[in-house]
């Protein structure tokens, strides 16, 4: 039988989501640290953000759906709202960040982040 | 009294900004258009202030042209403007000096657009300080005036301008933080006393007059007064927090020096008159001996240090320290004559020192030096210039018939009387020593005049110098005419401020109670506004 995807997901335990989220987050974090290409660093940051999104959503799934009289802060909606916020900010961040990278590339013809040390004392 | 909506004061406040925007929109790189807009605009603003404020009634201490608009009602912050006798002349002085210094500014050749725009923004900020009737609004304008001035120094200043600008900014900014903190504490005190959170100066004054403002925590009054006094004393500047002034004055462009001496320093003394004394009646009276002592030290110290300067602008800058000492001495005499003298001396210092800076600027444009060793013997070469300089110098010395005398005379007389009658608990020696300050004023100013004008010409460059041009003479004559007017018919200036200054005095020396000065009748606007919101 083909179960609806929602049902399948419901059967996956919370720990699995959290584990996946943690794995992705660590991958992102390590990537940020070890890669020297700022574009890749960006992608790693996106990875971290999305891992957090995943965790938020999975928690939201296990919260009550927020009926009348319940504060929206404690309901599933809050986690989903948070995700949308994060995505919006991530988009903005990418726009600005890529802009900065482009500007740096234009002026220096290379984008190795280890060479970007003008702020060094 | 209309208490809402916009009136002449808001118009006055907005006009320089409008002109600044127009300057921003002026076509292309045409300096002519920018100058025309700037000078014409500031001239119109001056006319507007003269004509628009004609309805001012000097016979009452009540605020006039009051405008009120709640800005952040939750925090008790109101956009409230108003004018009384103390601010009346300072507003006119501001618009006039901005106009005159912009005329001089045709000598500015670099970044003309930004320069003119900044000067006009500065004008708005200065007017705001004198017109604001809300503590936070006052604070905002107080700080806002720093930025354009610091930029003027940093961009168009002399050789050491960066350091001077930073020093000026950090020094005065750091001091005014105390003002903000004090304001907040005071507003909370008001809330505890009356249940209304408000920064409205009138409401605060009314509470202070009734003696309820500090009733809950009497010890707090002195603490907060000190916080206010630090902010204002740095601005004045009083000894020993004066050292930003010589640097700022020396490095500032001429127009900046005129504004700095003419208006910016007055914010400090104005702050004392507007808030320092009426809001802290007991504390200000108690602190008066110390403040008078500092003022007297400033008078003597400033004069003596001035006598040893080798840079003409620095000399005049130190003379400002001495002159502002007289202002403070007058204000903190708590004597009827003395306080009016102090308040009047504010204007006089603006005119005489402003005039001197203008004249020094005119010479600087020619010979590009401010050092005495490069001058000398100019009396033969530039007789008209010498005569104008002489008159402004004598005004600064305080020769009767010119404006400087009246203020100094009244301030010293008041201080002497106050010490004699024990209004302020200070030794009689203090005003006597202060009086000897006028001797030292003669010393350093005559030294200056001698070094610039007497003797043979030693700098060969000077021997080919032409005298002032017509328009420069005309510009300087504005200052000269005002100096004579203020000396011969001082009543024109004294009468409108008498009632307001006397109200401030009575705030300090009369016992608090319901019969003390009424500040916000007939319409207690501030209370009503903020009351409804909460």
């Amino acid at each position: 039988m083909i179960l609806p995807i929602a049902t399948i997901v419901q059967q996956v335990p919370l720990g699995a989501f959290l584990g996946l989220g943690l794995t992705l987050f660590i991958m992102g974090g390590v990537g940020v640290l070890i890669r020297r290409n700022p574009v890749v660093v960006f992608m790693c940051i996106e990875l971290m953000l999305n891992s957090v999104n995943l965790i938020l959503l999975s928690f939201a799934r296990y919260l009550p759906s927020g009926g009348a009289g319940e504060s929206p802060m404690n309901s599933a909606v809050s986690g989903q709202m948070m995700v949308i916020f994060v995505m919006a900010i991530a988009a903005a961040e990418v726009a600005v960040g890529l802009g900065i990278i482009m500007a740096i590339f234009r002026s220096r013809n290379e984008v190795d982040i280890d060479d970007m040390s003008l702020l060094k004392s | 009294m209309p208490d809402t909506g916009f009136g002449i004061l808001s118009l006055l406040l907005a006009a320089p900004l409008v002109v600044a925007i127009l300057i921003g929109l002026a076509p292309g790189k045409s300096h002519g258009a920018i100058r025309a807009i700037g000078i014409g605009g500031s001239g119109l603003i001056f006319l507007m202030s003269v004509i628009g404020l004609q309805g001012f009634d000097g016979s009452t201490h009540r605020f006039q042209f009051v405008e009120s608009l709640p800005l952040i009602p939750q925090l008790g912050i109101t956009y409230k403007l108003g004018m009384d006798g103390i601010s009346y002349w300072l507003v006119l002085l501001t618009t006039l000096l901005t106009f005159l210094s912009l005329i001089f500014s045709v000598y500015v050749k670099e970044r003309v657009r930004a320069y003119f725009a900044l000067m006009l923004v500065l004008e708005t900020a200065m007017l705001g300080v004198f017109l604001a009737l809300d503590g936070i609004l006052f604070y905002c304008f107080f700080e806002a005036s720093l930025i354009p001035m610091a930029l003027l120094i940093a961009v168009w200043g002399g050789s050491n301008r960066r350091k001077a600008a930073i020093k000026f900014f950090v020094y005065t900014f750091a001091a005014s933080i105390f003002l903000l903190a004090g304001l907040i504490v005071m507003a909370i005190q008001l809330q505890q006393a009356t249940g209304v959170l408000s920064f409205d100066i009138l409401a605060l004054q009314a509470a202070a007059a009734e003696g309820i403002l500090w009733a809950a925590h009497p010890a707090l009054q002195m603490t907060i007064f000190i916080a206010f006094a630090v902010a204002f004393a740095v601005k004045c500047p009083m000894f020993p927090v004066h050292t930003w002034l010589p640097d700022a004055h020396t490095e500032a462009p001429t127009a900046g020096s005129i504004i700095l001496a003419g208006v910016l320093l007055k914010m400090g003394t104005y702050g004392f008159l507007r808030m320092g004394i009426p809001l802290f009646p007991e504390a200000s009276l108690e602190a008066a001996p110390v403040i008078n002592l500092l003022a007297v030290i400033g008078i003597i110290y400033g004069a003596l240090v001035a006598a040893r300067q080798v840079d003409v602008k620095k000399l005049v800058a130190y003379s400002s320290v001495a002159h502002m000492g007289f202002v403070m001495l007058g204000i903190f005499s708590f004597d009827s004559n003395g306080m009016i003298g102090g308040a009047y001396q504010q204007l006089n210092h603006g005119i005489s020192t402003g005039g001197l800076f203008l004249l020094i600027g005119l010479l600087y444009e020619r010979i590009h030096t401010r050092l005495f060793k490069d001058m000398g013997g100019l009396k033969a070469q530039m007789p008209v210039y010498a005569m104008l300089f002489l008159i402004m110098m004598l005004s600064s010395v305080g020769v009767p018939g010119l404006n400087g005398f009246v203020g100094e005379f009244l301030a010293l007389m008041g201080s002497f009387q106050s010490a004699l009658d024990g209004v302020v608990d200070m030794p009689i020696a203090l005003p006597i020593i202060a009086a000897t300050g006028v001797i030292f004023a003669a010393v350093y100013l005559l030294i200056m005049f001698q070094k610039v004008f007497y003797g043979p010409i030693t700098n060969p460059m000077l021997s080919r110098l032409k005298d002032l041009k017509r328009w420069e003479v005309g510009l300087t004559m504005c200052f000269v005419a005002l100096a004579f007017l203020g000396g011969i018919l001082p009543n024109i200036f004294l009468k409108p401020m008498e009632a307001s200054v006397d109200a401030v005095r009575r705030m300090a020396i009369e016992a608090p109670g319901p019969n003390k000065i009424k500040w916000n009748e007939p319409a207690p606007t501030a209370m009503a506004n903020t009351g409804e919101v909460n």
Partner: protein, 761 residues
């Protein structure tokens, strides 16, 4: 007394003021366009305004004398100067005997000096500037004497100080002149501060007691309010009276060159000679006496203050006379003589005969202005050399000047009966030696009496040094300038500051903006105008009598110096020494004012002393005990004869070798006298060194301690700490990221720990 009758008196002040304005705005342009006509017109205007003022003054003076009213004083109010709740100072003039006398002296002598100056200054480039200043001075001096309140007096007081400053430094190319001008102004300011403080105290006193006095108007500085109120109040406060009187006297000391504030007056001779005559002899320096006359009722209440005034007067008179003896500069002799004579006037005030002080002001104004102008003529004739050692035998060359100056000399030396100086001096010294009101000093004599006897000593010395001056200048047969070789450059006493400091241009690569600078040709053309020939005194010089414009104005002064004026004013001294007619005239107004006020009794205004207010019997008795008039006249005659005799004996034929150019041959006392007994270097040199030293110390303190340590110290600390921290900034971005991550992990761990401790709450 109708004030309206005297309404027009303000023209006396206004005319010279307009004259000054005319010189500045119109005259200068005219002279630039056509020097000859321009100087004629502007000189004419300058003289005209002052002489017109004299006419107006005379008209009002006669009206005052013939006024049928009993109060011979009019107060005319024009407009408010300062009108505050606690202080009301209107611009009001007081026309009474004192001010009208001074108006006549100022405009009369001033007008004559203006005439003289039109010729004396004719070649000067700054002709109009000179007359602008001089006219302004006359106006200010008139404000001083005519003002009806102390504040207006103060306006004139400082105003004449400014004019004096400007005129001393008139020849501005010589820095020495500028220094003398600064010295004069600053020394005067010391006095001004005293006067101002005295005024403040009076205001505080009267203002504080306004209910007691029943005053409604705040015109507390106006004489008609001030004098009665102050004398009523102060009689209860001897301490305050003393200090107020002393402060007012300090003001008078500054302006009237009393010891120790006299130091500026000799230096003030750097100004042109007409200035010395008008300002530093006839008018400004006597304003201290005018002030003391105005406030005589207050001062008279304090015997201690009176003693100080008399004592200072005596010291000044003596010092001036000693120093005059050591001078070689003809103008300096007269300057010290002025100091000495001013001392007399203060002796008069100190012993309570204020009117006699005024009397001496008037007579002295005439003969001293005469002497100064005469010396100016001599200097003019001698190519602006002022050193008497270069003169000699001029009596034959400058006959008119010689005769005229001779009259002035006799008046100053005090030839009995014939000359005015004798009468006014007698009017002072007579009461002084009989004085009993001031504090006792030695041997039963009071300070005033000692001052009187010192006065006689000074009279002897005056006759002596004036004889010396006349002999060295006009007497003898040797024409000493014949010994000067043409090449010899005498650096003594250049009256004219024509030393050109004109340096030739050499542009060291300066960018000269043509908008601001002249071309080289224009500069030369501009400088060329004042490049007129000026030759030094040498043996080729032939002194000629000065132009008539320079001796004619002296004739009225010479006439006035004759004793006739003294006789008229003094009445017959032998029969009725009291009251003095001049006293009666001078104080007619105040007597009535005093009656209107609180003081009862006749001549309370100029009390000889405190006990005998108008008590003639008491005075007669004292006269009998004291030195009688005949003896005094005899003593006077003896001092005159002795002084002149000694002078003639020493200097009659030649310049003694001990007073030549070789200073080492001088006798030490006279040498010291010539150097002001080293008082000047001690007083003004010392104080200026002290002040400037303090100023330097303050400057260092300001730069080092306040600015360096307190202001720039904290930022330095911040910078140092920041410097340490900057080493953390490696510039390795991934390092930062790692650090951040570690930090976040640590934080999370910490919070997790905290939460777990609380049991998951």
């Amino acid at each position: 007394m109708e004030a309206a009758n005297y309404q027009a008196i303000y023209w006396v002040i206004l005319l010279p003021l307009l004259g000054a304005l005319f010189q500045t705005l119109v005259g200068k342009a005219m002279v630039q366009r056509s020097p000859g006509l321009g100087k004629l017109v502007s000189g004419g205007v300058a003289v005209g305004t002052v002489l017109a003022g004299f006419g107006i003054g005379l008209f009002h003076h006669l009206r005052l004398i013939n006024d049928p009213g009993s109060v011979k004083a009019a107060t005319i109010t024009y407009f408010d100067w300062i009108n505050l709740a606690q202080l009301h100072i209107p611009v009001e003039l007081r026309f009474d005997a004192l001010s009208s006398t001074m108006v006549l002296v100022i405009t009369g002598i001033g007008g004559l000096i203006h005439i003289y100056a039109t010729r004396y200054m004719a070649e000067d480039k700054d002709f109009t500037r000179f007359f602008a200043y001089l006219n302004l001075f006359v106006a200010m001096m008139l404000i001083l004497v005519l003002g009806n309140n102390l504040a207006l007096l103060f306006v004139g007081w400082e105003g004449v100080g400014v004019c004096s400053y400007l005129l001393i430094g008139f020849w501005h190319k010589d820095l020495a002149n500028s220094r003398a001008a600064n010295k004069a102004f600053i020394t005067n300011r010391i006095g001004d501060v005293g006067l101002a403080l005295g005024m403040f105290w009076l205001v505080a006193l009267i203002g504080g007691n306004r209910e007691v006095l029943g005053l409604t108007d705040a015109r507390w500085l106006s004489y008609d309010v001030l004098i009665p109120a102050a004398s009523q109040l102060l009689s209860q406060f001897p301490h305050e009276t003393f200090w107020i009187s002393l402060l007012l006297f300090v003001g008078a000391m500054g302006k009237s060159a009393q010891f120790p504030l006299y130091v500026w007056l000799p230096d003030a001779m750097a100004g042109p000679t007409p200035v010395s005559a008008l300002i530093h002899a006839a008018t400004m320096v006597t304003s201290g006496v005018v002030l003391l006359n105005r406030v005589s009722e207050i001062i008279a209440l304090s015997p201690a203050a009176m003693s100080i005034i008399a004592g200072v007067g005596a010291i000044t008179a003596l010092l001036g006379a000693i120093m005059a003896w050591g001078q070689t500069d003809i103008k300096k002799v007269l300057a010290y003589s002025t100091v000495s004579q001013l001392g007399y006037m203060f002796i008069a005030c100190g012993v309570g005969v204020f009117y006699a002080g005024m009397f001496h002001v008037v007579t002295h104004a005439f003969f001293k202005a005469l002497l100064f102008l005469g010396s100016g003529s001599v200097i003019y004739a001698m190519a602006h050399n002022q050193d008497m050692r270069n003169y000699g035998g001029l009596g034959k060359k400058l006959k008119i000047t010689y005769v005229i100056m001779g009259i002035g000399y006799l008046a100053l030396a005090g030839l009995p009966f014939a000359f005015s100086g004798f009468w006014s001096k007698e009017a002072i010294l007579g009461p002084a030696v009989n004085d009993t009101a001031t504090l006792p000093l030695v041997g039963g004599l009071t300070v005033g009496a000692v001052a009187g006897w010192v006065g006689f000593l000074v009279a002897f010395m005056t006759a002596f040094y004036m004889t010396r001056m006349m002999c060295l200048t006009f007497g003898g047969k040797t024409e000493r300038w014949r010994e000067i070789e043409p090449a010899h450059h005498d650096d003594h006493g250049h009256d004219h500051g024509h030393a050109h400091g004109h340096a030739h241009d050499d542009d060291h690569g300066h960018e000269m903006d043509p908008a601001f600078f002249m071309t080289e040709e224009e500069a030369h053309a501009a400088a060329g105008h004042d490049d007129h020939h000026h030759h030094d005194l040498d043996k080729t010089h032939e002194p000629k009598e000065v132009p008539w414009l320079m001796w004619a104005p002296l004739i009225p002064m010479a006439i006035a110096s004759f004793g006739l004026i003294g006789v008229w004013m003094y009445g017959d001294v032998w029969k009725a020494p009291h009251p003095h007619p001049f006293e009666g005239f001078l104080h007619s107004a105040e007597v009535v004012t005093a009656k209107n006020g609180k003081v009862e009794g006749g001549s309370a205004l100029a009390p000889r002393n405190l006990e005998d207010h108008g008590d003639d019997h008491g005075k007669e008795e004292k006269k009998e005990k004291g030195v009688d008039t005949n003896t005094l006249v005899l003593v006077s005659a003896l001092t005159f004869a002795g002084g002149v005799g000694l002078g003639l004996a020493l200097y009659g034929r030649r310049l003694p070798a001990s007073e030549g150019f070789d200073l080492s041959k001088w006798n030490p006392i006279q040498k010291a006298a010539g150097k002001q007994l080293y008082l000047d270097s001690a007083l003004s040199g010392g104080s200026s060194k002290g002040v400037m030293g303090l100023a330097s110390a303050f400057k260092v303190f300001d730069k080092g301690v306040i600015d360096g340590l307190l202001v720039e110290g904290p930022p330095k600390v911040v910078r140092a700490v920041g410097g340490l921290l900057t080493t953390l900034q490696s510039g390795f971005v991934r390092g930062y990221a790692a650090l951040m991550q570690i930090g976040i992990i640590a934080l999370v761990a910490y919070f997790a720990y905290v939460v777990s401790q609380r049991g998951g709450q």
